[in-house]
Amino acid sequence: MTELEIFRLILLTFLVVCAAASAVSRSMLVTVIIFMTYGLVMSILWVVLRAPDLAVTEAAVGVCITSSLFFVTLRRLNLIRKRGEEDADSEEGK
């Protein structure tokens, strides 16, 4: 087994753990953050698999764009709140 293979195995394990964790985690915010991590690990894996094109795309799409869409959605659903902002933003959900 080469070093590369061991590295790949570690990354794969990490991916599976991330996926399982995001499946069982109970808070939405934590789920989305775990999913971000998953995307990041995936983009490292793309580099290891000799696909740098995909690494750039996955890093930009999986980590930036998809997660920011998730965060905006959670914000609109009032699942993330700013500190001290208890019941503002009520017209958002209307």
Binding site: A23, M28, F35, L49, R50, P52, D53, L77, G93
Partner: protein
């Protein structure tokens, strides 16, 4: 089917098998979770698992990424470029689907104040009566 040979084959193909386990987890989330956001994350995991599977099909140990340096166009030096191109398409498709599903969940939440699909079906059934 000898169990040992099957295990050996699984170990041979550990990358693809890991991708299939990820696929199953994503599928699990997509159809089991009643919460829409979790469903969407499951869908994303399922999609990336498929892309991982596709990329590992084209991977060849010890070869370089298909960027031809110094014009050396010898196919024996580089990995297969097809999976990369296909995955690129797939990533764009899955981000589109994610956006639409998230937009749908925003709309559903505005209307029903919950993201649990069972609850939404119950409310609809109640309203119909």
């Amino acid at each position: 089917m000898n169990l040992l040979t099957v295990l050996g084959r699984i170990l041979d193909n550990y990358e693809e098998c890991a991708a299939m386990v990820l696929f199953a987890i994503g599928f699990f989330m997509l159809i089991l979770h009643r919460n829409l956001i979790k469903k969407i994350i499951g869908m994303n995991i399922m999609d990336t698992a498929m892309y991982l599977f596709l990329a590992s099909i084209g991977y060849i140990e010890g070869r370089a990424a298909p960027v031809l340096e110094d014009g050396a166009a010898d196919p024996a030096l580089y990995i297969n470029p097809i999976p990369t191109g296909l995955v690129l398409t797939g990533i764009v498709v899955s981000v589109s689907f994610t956006a639409i599903m998230l937009a749908l969940s925003v709309r559903l939440y505005r209307r029903y104040r919950t993201l649990n699909l069972d609850d939404i079906y119950t409310i609809i059934r109640e309203e119909r009566k």
